[in-house]
Amino acid sequence: MSATHDRLLALKGATVSFHGFVAVDHLDLEVGAGELRCLIGPNGAGKTTTLDLICGKSRINSGEIVFKGKPIHALNEFQIARAGIGRKFQVPSVFRELTVRENLAIGGSRDPRVLSNLFKFGTSADRQRLEEIAVLVGLRDEMATQAAFLSHGQTQWLEIALILAQDPALILMDEPTAGMTAHETNKTAALFNHLKGRRTLIVVEHDMGFVRDIAETISVMHQGKLLAQGTADEVSSDARVREAYLGSGGIGHA
């Protein structure tokens, strides 16, 4: 890891198994503050599960997850979120019955308390900041649209916008460009390059072109373990990585 980054997140020997299948196997992974880390690997390598472990959706069986110097693996999902971790899911998860503006207001969760939110009316409290985020993801003209009526790409962006509204120290992105057109993917790459350095991101992605566009460091996972780590060129010339993608790994569906 480069010396310029302070360590923000560390997984130490993180292990989880589901009904005997070891999805993540003694994984050690460190991510520095301000870094944009790409997590790649063949299907079933345990990438999404790794994100699930970090954000509390799944629990580790053994090992440790340390965020900002404190262990977080025993916390509730909402406590982990409050500690400063935001998650974008693989299947876009927005509030389909609410408008884009209302969705963004929910993303703005700086104050998550019931009673103080009882005295906040409308979505005006954070209006300007949310408006800026909407501009950033190109949803400015859709503020009053119900989220159910957005296109697939727009829904992906809306969820990214929700995470930006949440403003966490660490953003976990699970296949942000899935189902996007080439044009939309390019726009997303531009957005991520804009975020680089301002936020810390871990991005799980299949699209190697996209990964090359945005990545600083790439971590390659295979069968629940960290296989290789380095720049795009280093990783793609690594013999073990080629083996994993071309060999048995490609059919290793979990």
């Binding site: 954000c55 959706k57 509730n76 999902e77 909402f78 406590q79 979120a81 409050r82 935001g86 998650r87 899911f89 998860s93 927005v94 509030f95 389909r96 019955e97 609410l98 408008t99 503006r101 209302e102 207001a105 929910i106 993303g107 969760s109 998550p112 019931v114 009673l115 939110n117 009882l118 005295f119 906040k120 009316f121 409308g122 979505t123 005006s124 409290a125 003209d141 503020m143 009053a144 649209t145 119900q146 159910a148 009526f149 929700l162 949440q166």
Partner: protein, 381 residues
């Protein structure tokens, strides 16, 4: 937001004003009593709309909190009577019949007006809060939560029937004193009682409206939409759902207190399954995602029910007619009458609106959103 706020508040205000002014038109004591009863049912519908329509918690035991409020008021009014059959220290008559010699400790604080009035709201709210905390803290949702609420109500009902010496058992608590406050006498068959109920209804409606319009209300709607996702933004979902469940129970408790004043007794049937399921029907007919719609649904259904059951032509068949109406409404209008009204008014808007509203008046779009939501939810439901 400014474009929409006054319109909704105006509509709610106009309806409440019409309800408040009703005794100027009708001056029949019997009718006023009947309409007071309907208004109490309207409050119950508001309570259920808040938890079911906005937070997605189908409370099949709403009548439990209603009954608890009703009993609090009955205990207070019973202690105010000068009993005909008294034991030592003017013990309530049914206690004497059950061989009790002294007032149970749970009854003692109900000598105090302030305590009784607070208890009528807080006991149901705390009870629901406790139940909600266990349910939602344990992530019980959907039909399972609905079944638990129903079961909890049946348990409380059985306890009340069983503990005859403390609760009057199956007969309930009867022969109550008249409620009075600030020098006003609230005779069940008078305009003053009607006004009391109407004012409480207005307050409850606007408190509920404030909750739904706040950010807390927005988060509850998000929970209804996709509960899991809300957690990952840092909101403690169980706290939010427990909160709205308690507020809903408090409103139902207030309605229960008023019902005791209007009916002049409290009975275990107030915590019964038939009443509890009726509330669900009223709210479904009126539209669960509109507080006003749910309330008007209750007034409409109970009103039509009353009229049909009293008319000679439908004396034998009125339950059949009501049943048929429910089936039709649930099948044809999944979002109830309020949902139908919203999509109708959206359709009647000039066609140009759809094209222009994005930039000129985003707020109007928010308004028509409900109708879009309705159409969409109708397909997925």
């Amino acid at each position: 937001m400014s474009g929409k706020v006054p319109l909704q508040i105006l509509l709610y205000g106009v309806v409440c004003l019409a309800i408040l002014l009703f005794p100027l038109v009708v001056n029949d004591a019997f009718l006023l009593n009947k309409f007071s009863r309907y208004l109490v049912f309207g409050m119950l519908a508001i309570a259920l709309s808040l938890s079911w329509g906005y937070a997605g918690i189908l409370n099949l035991g709403q009548a439990m909190t209603f009954g608890l409020g009703s009993y609090c008021m009955a205990m207070y009014l019973k202690l105010k009577t000068v009993p005909i059959h008294t034991g030592s220290d003017g013990l309530p008559d049914f206690m004497v019949w059950n061989n009790l010699t002294e007032l149970p400790w749970v009854w003692a604080p109900f000598h105090s007006t302030a305590f009784a009035l607070l208890a009528g709201i807080l006991v149901p709210a705390l009870f629901a809060g406790l139940l909600g905390w266990f349910m939602f803290g344990g992530r019980v949702t959907g039909v399972y939560a609905a079944i638990i609420t129903l079961a909890a109500m049946v348990v409380v009902n059985l306890i009340i029937v069983d503990q005859q010496g403390y609760t009057g058992g199956f007969n309930g608590i009867t022969d109550l004193a008249q409620f009075d406050m600030f020098g006003f006498e609230f005779d069940a068959y008078s305009a003053s009682t009607y006004y009391l109920v109407a004012i409480c209804l207005t307050v409850a409606l606007f408190v509920a409206l404030a909750v739904t319009r706040s950010k807390t209300g927005l988060i509850l709607q998000a929970v209804r939409d996709r509960e899991e996702r809300v957690r990952f933004f840092g909101y403690d979902v169980a706290l939010y759902t427990t909160f709205v469940f308690s507020v809903s129970a408090g409103i139902a408790g207030l309605a229960g207190m008023l019902y005791t004043i209007v009916m002049e007794f409290a009975s275990p049937t107030f915590l019964g399954v038939p009443l509890s399921l009726s509330i669900v029907i009223w709210v479904a007919v009126g539209g669960r995602r509109s507080l006003l719609g749910a309330m008007l649904g209750a007034l409409l259904v109970t009103g039509v029910q009353g009229a049909l059951s009293e008319s000679e032509a439908f004396l034998e068949t009125w339950t059949l007619v009501m049943g048929g109406l429910f089936v039709l409404i649930v099948l044809l209008l999944p979002q109830g009458l309020a949902g139908a009204f919203q999509s109708l008014s959206a359709r009647l808007q000039p066609a140009g609106k759809v094209g222009t509203d994005k930039k000129t008046s985003p707020d109007k779009k928010t308004e028509s959103r409900d109708s879009g939501k309705t159409a969409h939810a109708g397909e997925t439901a």
